[in-house]
Subunit: 291 residues, 4 copies
C-alpha cells in the first residue's frame, strides 16, 4: 500500500463512471467487483484489479464503495474476504452507497472497531451526473477523513456536504426525497385540477415556469404527466419506500407530517394500481380521476 | 376618443407603475382613481385625468382596470358614473384585477350586453414585477381584443397567456396558488423534519438548491423559515383563501385533492394561531412542533 | 285564533307524520302546503286547512314549519301571503327545517322584528322516526318558547335540546354530520383493509359489534358495503355537502380538521365517480381499490 | 400428562384471571410464570405449578400462553427450558398474546415442525372482561384445535372467531385497532369543532348517544375529553403503534388509507407533545387548538 492509493468496490451504473473519473485525474485506483468481468474497462483505463474486497482494502489507503443496497453493502463489509478482514489503523472506508441509518451505523462501528476511519457519503444524482462528475455527496462520520478526500469528491461531484455523525447522511437523503415526493404530489394535484377545469396543462406548465416555483423537476416531469408516459428515472416504488422511511423517522421523533403522509397514500394507491415500476411522476395516475 | 387611446382605472401599488409603463412607451393614457390625489404623479408623467370611470371610458378606446378586490371591481363597473354608463360598441374593457370566476363572468356579460368587448387578465407578480414591466397576464375572454393589446401587455409584462372563455383566468390563478400553497406545505415539513433529525436547515436548503427541485421560492422563503420571521409578501390568510377556493373548485368538478386539503388544514391551524397576517411561509409555525 | 292553536307549514315526507302525531294527541292544528292536495289526509284526521302561510299563522298561536331547504324556508316566510305578513306580537314561529346558519338568523331576525318569537329546531332522524314520534330536536333561539312547546316536541320526538342563540341548531347539526361522515370514512378503510388482508368482512363486523365501537351505523351499513349496494337513505352528495359546510365552519373559526378534510376528499372522489345519489356509505367505492 | 390437562404460561394482569376462570370451571391447570411468586394465588385455587415452560408443556395436552409482547412470547418458546424443548406430536399450543404477524408465523412454524398443533388467538378486551370471562378471541391456525378448545375459550370469553391461517388473528386486530384510532380521531375533531362553535360538548355527547353513531367508546371517552383528563386504559403510544402497523399492512397490500394516515399523524403530534403514556383519547390534545 502506498499513501494516496484508492480502492473502489462496486462497478455498476454509478461506480464505473465514478472510478473512471478518479483514474482520469491521475489517481491510483484498485478496483474490485463481485462479477469480475466488469473490471475490464477500468483496468484498460489504468486501474489495478483486486481479487477480493479484502485485497482491495489491503492495497489502498482509502477505499470507496458503491453497492446496490443495504444487503450488498453489508455483505461486502462483513462477508468472507470482506472489508473487515483487511481493515486496520491507518486505513479508511467511504461508503457512497445509499443505505439506511442503521446499516450505516453498523458498518461504521465495525470499521472503527478495527481502528479504521469511516465516512458515510450517499450521493444525490443518477447516471448522468456520475459520468459528468456532477454528483452531490451527503457526508457524515469522520470529519478529518472528509477533509482529506475533498480532492477526490471534487473529481466525482460538484458539491459535497459534511453533515455530522454517521446516520446524518442517510437522514438528509430521506428528508430530501420526502420533500420531493410531496412536492410531486402537489404538482400532480395542480395538473389534475387544471385538466378538470378545462385549462391546458401545457399552459399551466408555462405559467409555473415563469414564476417563483420554477424548477427543473416540473419542467422535466410535466410533459410525462401530459403524455401519461412514465419511463422510470426514479421508480415510484423506490420513491414511496423513501417516503415511508421518512414518515417513520418523523414518527420516531414525534414530528407530524400530514401533508407527506397524505401524499404517501397517493403513491400507495398508484403502486397498488400497478405503477410501482414506472417513474414516480406516475403518482399522477392515482391523483387524476376520469372526467 | 381617438383610436389607440387607453384608459386606466385604479392607481394603487400595482396600477400606478403599470400605467406609468404605458406612458413611458408613448401611449396616450387617461387615468381615474377613486381618490383623485393619486392621479397627480401620472398627470405629471403625461396622462390626462378623468373625473369618473365613465368619463375615462368615454375618452378611451380600451380601458384597463386594476382594482383591489371583487367588490371594488364590481362597484367601478356597475356603480353611478361607472364603466357601464359609457360602454358602447367599439369600446373594450380589460380587467387585470384578481377577482373570482363569478365576478369576472358577471362583469363580462354586462360589458358585452352593451356591445363592448371584454378581457379578463389577472396578473401573476407583485409590486416589483409591476414596476419592471415583468408581470404575467392570465387572459381569457375576447381573443381578438387579446391580440390587439399585445403591444400594451408586452410593455407591462414579460409574458401573457390566452386561456379561453371568461373564467379561465381566475381558475388558472387558483390552480397556480393551490400548487404553491401545497408545495410550501411540503417544504415546511421537510424543514421541520430536518430540524428534528439534528440536521442543519441551511444545509438542506443548499442541497435542495443543487438538485431537481431548485426554485426561487425555496431560496427566498428558506431563510424566513430558519429565522422564524415572516414579513408578509403574500399574506397567509390570502394564500389560505385561494386554497379554499381551489378546493371548492375541485369539489364542484369531482376532483379529489387530498394533499392540498391536508395542506390547507395546516394553513387554517396557522391562521387560528394568529399568523394570518404573516407571510404564507408562516405555515411553518403550524408544521413544526416543539422539540 | 285561540290560545294553544298550532299551525303547520309544509306537508312532505317529514311534515305529514309530524302534524298527524300532533292531531292524534288532540292538539288543534291548522295546516298549509304549497300543493294543497297534500292537506287532504290531514284534514281527514281533523286539521283545519289554511289557504296561505299567512292565513295559517293568523289562525295559530304557534306555527311549525318543515320545508325542504333554505330557499323554500325563506320563500314561505318572506314571500307573498307569507309568514311575515301575519306575524305579530304574541305569535311564535318554530322552524324545524334544516337550513344553514345564515338563513336561520335571517328568518329569526325578521320574525322578532315583527314582535314574534322564534325557535330554530332542526331535527335529527328521518321518515321512520318522524312517524314513530322518535325525532330529536336541536333547538336554539327563544328559550321561553322552547319551554312552552315541550309538550308538542315530546309528541313528535323522543328528545329535544336547547342549545343557545339562533344558529346553534344548524351548527350542532353540522358537527354531528361531520363526525358521522369521518366515522364512515374510518369504517370503510377498515372494511377495505380487511378485504385486502384476506379477512372476511362479515367477521370484522361481528368483532366490531362486540366491542367498544359497537353502533347501529356499522350494523346497518356494513352489509351495504359487503354487497356493494347503496340504496340512498342519506344521499352521499348531501353528506358531502354537510362535511363541506362543517369544514368551512372550522376554517372560519381557525379549527383545523385534517381527518375530516381527508375524509371529505374521499366523498368528493366518490361523487366524481358517479355515486352522489347513492347512500353515503358508497364512499366505500372511493376507498377500496381493485385487488 | 393426562388427556384434558391444560397449561398456562404467563400470569400477569390478563393471564391470572383467565387461568382462574379455567380452574373455577373444574379444568385441570398447570401454571408457570417467569417470576414464580405470581403462581401462589393460582396454586391456592387448585393449580399445579411447573418450574419451567418446558415442564408445563410436558404436563399438559394443551398449553395457553399470555405473554407481554412479541419478545416475551418468542423467549418463552425458543429460550432454554422453553416450549419447544417439550413440544411433541399430540401436544398443542395456543398463544393468546398480542404479537405481530411475523412472530405468530415464526412460533407457529416452530411448533408444527416439532409435530405440535398451533393456534394464534389474540384477545380483544382488557382486565375487566378477562375477570368476567367476557373476552373475544381472534383465532387463526389449526381449526381442529380451535374446535377442541371451544369449551375453554367459552369459559374465558364471550365469543371466539376462527379467521383462517396463522397471521389472520394479528391482522384482524390491526384492522380493528386502526378503525378505532381513526374513529377516535373523527370524534375528537367533532368535539373540538363543537367547542370552537360555542356548543356544549356535553350536549354533543347526548345527541350522538341518541343517534345511529351511539357507541360505548364515545360514552366512555367523551367525559375524558371534556375534563381533559386521560388516565391510560389503552395508552396512546400503543394505539399509535397499532395504527403504524396497520398502515404498513395497507402499504404492503397496495391499499391506500388516507383517513387513517392523517389520524395517525395526529397521534404522532400528541405523542410528540408528551401524551404517549396517556389514554389514546388524549389525541384530543393534538386536535383542539387554543381559542
Amino acid at each position: 500500500m502506498s499513501t494516496g492509493s484508492f480502492g473502489f468496490l462496486g462497478l455498476g451504473i454509478m461506480g464505473t463512471p465514478m472510478a473512471k473519473n478518479l483514474l482520469a485525474k491521475g489517481f491510483s485506483v484498485t478496483v474490485w467487483n463481485r462479477d469480475s468481468a466488469k473490471c475490464a474497462s477500468l483496468v484498460e483505463a489504468g486501474a489495478k484489479q483486486a481479487s477480493s474486497a479484502a485485497e482491495c482494502v489491503e492495497a489502498s489507503s482509502i477505499t470507496f464503495a458503491m453497492l446496490a443496497d443495504p444487503a450488498a453493502a453489508s455483505a461486502v463489509v462483513f462477508g468472507p474476504k470482506g472489508v473487515l478482514e483487511a481493515m486496520t489503523a491507518g486505513k479508511s472506508y467511504v461508503d457512497v452507497s445509499t443505505v439506511d441509518d442503521e446499516t450505516a451505523l453498523k458498518i461504521g462501528e465495525a470499521i472503527t472497531a478495527k481502528g479504521g476511519r469511516f465516512l458515510e457519503a450517499p450521493v444525490s444524482g443518477s447516471k448522468g451526473p456520475a459520468e459528468q462528475g456532477q454528483l452531490i455527496f451527503l457526508c457524515a462520520g469522520d470529519e478529518t477523513l472528509y477533509s482529506e478526500i475533498t480532492p477526490q469528491l471534487d473529481v466525482m461531484g460538484k458539491k459535497s456536504f459534511f453533515l455530522g455523525a454517521v446516520g446524518a447522511g442517510a437522514r438528509m437523503k430521506l428528508v430530501v426525497n420526502m420533500t420531493m415526493g410531496s412536492m410531486m404530489g402537489a404538482f400532480c394535484e395542480g395538473m389534475a385540477l387544471a385538466e378538470k377545469s378545462g385549462l391546458e396543462q401545457s399552459q399551466l406548465l408555462e405559467v409555473l415556469d415563469l414564476g417563483a416555483m420554477a424548477n427543473p423537476m416540473f419542467k422535466l416531469k410535466g410533459p410525462s404527466v401530459m403524455k401519461r408516459a412514465f419511463p422510470p428515472a426514479f421508480p415510484l416504488k423506490h420513491a414511496q419506500k423513501d417516503m415511508r422511511l421518512a414518515l417513520a423517522l418523523g414518527d420516531q421523533l414525534g414530528q407530524p407530517l400530514p401533508v407527506s403522509a397524505t401524499a404517501n397514500e397517493a403513491y400507495i394507491r398508484a403502486k397498488g394500481a400497478g405503477h410501482g415500476d414506472s417513474d414516480f411522476a406516475a403518482v399522477y395516475e392515482a391523483v387524476q380521476t376520469k372526467p
